[in-house]
């Protein structure tokens, strides 16, 4: 148990440290790296709770896919350092930022306090599991494809709309670059040679 506790404390600290550093970093690429660190910490927490599937999904979808997208955006905008991020925001909007984040923090604290009463907890703060099958891939699948069928099918519609959105953005982007700029030619050389054949 003590090893369990140690792992819990360390991974929780890693998750919080990563999230905090992500916010305080001015270099966007470093922010992404810290976010990955935080996600890995969270994945360990999920594994400890017995929800290994959720942990794996967290790594595959967030670290493996969404953060790659973030990195691409950072590269597309060429945000190398703090200088590229522009001026710091004016004091009024900064005040609004802090105020809203304090509100969210308070809200989250209340939610966590409420939900803690629901399950029995061990000394490590780990909610004790219902049974062994809890969080296993089979039980997740069984629930997903029976009880939560409609949300699941709706997810596909959501993803579909995401594809459509992406395609429309893509068309805008290509239309913008249609007048060829000889000095700032984007993409590989093959772009020019193949235009005639299409």
């Amino acid at each position: 148990m003590s090893l369990d506790l140690a792992i819990f404390v360390i991974s929780a600290l890693v998750a919080v440290f990563g999230a905090t550093m992500m916010i305080f970093q001015r270099n966007p690429v470093a922010s992404v790296l810290y976010l990955i660190l935080s996600l890995v910490g969270q994945a360990v927490l999920y594994v400890q709770l017995g929800a290994a599937f959720v942990g794996a999904v967290l790594i595959i979808v967030y670290s493996g896919a969404i953060l790659v997208l973030f990195l691409f955006v950072i590269m597309m905008l060429n945000l190398r350092s703090s200088a590229d991020l522009g001026e710091p925001s004016p004091p009024v909007s900064r005040f609004v930022k802090y105020f809203v984040s304090c509100l969210i923090f308070l809200e989250l604290s209340f939610i966590i306090r409420e939900s803690l009463g629901a399950g029995s907890t061990t000394s490590a703060g780990i909610v004790t599991m219902a049974d062994d099958s809890f969080g296993s891939v089979e039980s997740v699948a069984t629930l997903l494809f029976t009880r939560y069928l409609y949300p699941f099918e709706l997810t596909s519609v959501l993803l579909l709309s995401a594809i459509v959105g992406a395609v429309i953005i893509a068309r805008r982007a290509t239309e913008d670059e249609l007048p060829p700029q000889p000095e700032k030619a984007v993409g590989p050389i093959s772009q020019k040679t193949n235009e005639g054949q299409e």
């Binding site: 690429v29 470093a30 790296l33 794996a56 790594i59 595959i60 493996g64 193949n194």
Partner: protein, 333 residues
């Protein structure tokens, strides 16, 4: 508990060292095989058949000056080789390397960690392999590096979905994600020891897996990321000395990892008659490696747009189709 940690640590160290050794001699194998395919001799000077060549290379690289160009982002530049190497070998944590055996009175399982989400773990680790490359390319501040990294990343993400989907067929047949159980299912005591291998139940799935695996590891004919003729060395152009060799080792470790996963999922892993189980796995892995090298010795490189088209318009729909057909067959059974 302590005993388990010690046994695990010993297994981890043995496997890591074994993988690194395999990486080193894979480079020898590649040079030798490609050389013979081109009617050359390959390395011959260091040791018999040039077998000591990998050691000579390692010694040379370790004594080389480590150049850091002034345009790099220092921290990310230093982290990238590590981020590239660790996911590359991490796959071996869930690959069953041998049957359970007894070692000085201890009952030892032939796998470092038998996760019940083993296949998903492989998928997750593969998806993290992108970062080493993209960070190396980004932090170098060089045109070749950035271009190589972007191409490599776009290619990897395009083929990663197909890679994941090609495995789904096997899981549909086996109904488990545990690599250990997958291997045990493929065993057979009869003279046709290979009759239960999943490659016979999933021929299309295997072909898709093989293709995606080659693309996923950025190997020829999908080696656009390191197209020497246009991108110098791609994402690791600015790296030298030990840092460069980490990328080099990572590439081979990635190849070995997908070979091991392929052997485990489709060719029965360590299952096989007569020979010790470890040797069977190594044999199957090196057949995959030979195939990789054979491809490099034979095929020209794809053009980049062809490569992206092939991934999204051929492999991905085929993988989905394979999944559906397999599901229908499992249904009928």
């Amino acid at each position: 508990m302590l005993e388990m940690i010690i046994i695990s640590s010993v297994k981890v160290i043995v496997v890591v060292v074994a993988v690194l050794t395999c990486c080193a001699w894979s480079t020898w194998l590649e040079r030798k095989v490609v050389a013979y395919m081109q009617h050359r001799m390959g390395p011959t000077l260091a040791g018999p058949f040039g077998l000591l060549q990998p050691i000579a290379d390692a010694l040379k690289l370790i004594f080389k000056e480590d150049l850091v160009p002034k345009s790099v982002e220092k921290v990310t530049f230093a982290l990238a080789p590590i981020i590239s190497f660790v996911p590359a070998i991490l796959t071996f944590a869930v690959v069953p390397f041998a049957a359970d055996f007894e070692f000085f009175g201890y009952q030892v399982t032939g796998i470092i960690s038998d996760l019940n989400i083993g296949v998903l773990f492989v998928f997750a680790v593969t998806s993290l392999g992108i970062y080493g490359i993209v960070l190396a390319g980004w932090s170098s501040g060089s045109k070749y590096s950035l271009m190589g990294a972007l191409r490599a990343t776009a290619q990897m993400i395009s083929y990663e979905v197909g890679y994941g989907l090609s495995i789904i067929g096997v899981i549909l047949v086996a109904n488990t994600l545990s690599m250990k159980e997958l291997v045990e299912m493929q065993g057979s005591d009869s003279i046709w020891f290979f009759q239960n291998w999943f490659v016979f139940k999933q021929p299309l799935g295997f072909l898709l897996f093989l293709t995606c695996a080659v693309a996923e590891t950025n190997r020829c004919p999908f080696d656009m990321a390191e197209a020497e003729s246009e991108l110098v060395a791609g994402y690791h152009t600015e790296y030298s000395s030990m840092r460069f060799s980490m990328f080099f080792i990572s590439e081979y470790a990635n190849m070995l990892a997908v070979s091991a996963v392929g052997a485990t999922l489709f060719f029965g892993g360590w299952q096989g008659p007569l020979l010790p189980s470890v040797l069977w796995l190594l044999l199957k892995m090196f057949l995959f490696m030979f195939f990789y090298i054979w491809l490099r010795g034979t095929l020209p490189r794809f053009r980049y747009d062809q490569l992206m088209n092939f991934g999204w318009k051929v492999l991905f729909p085929l993988a989905l189709l394979n999944t559906m057909i397999t599901a229908a067959f499992v249904m009928i059974d």
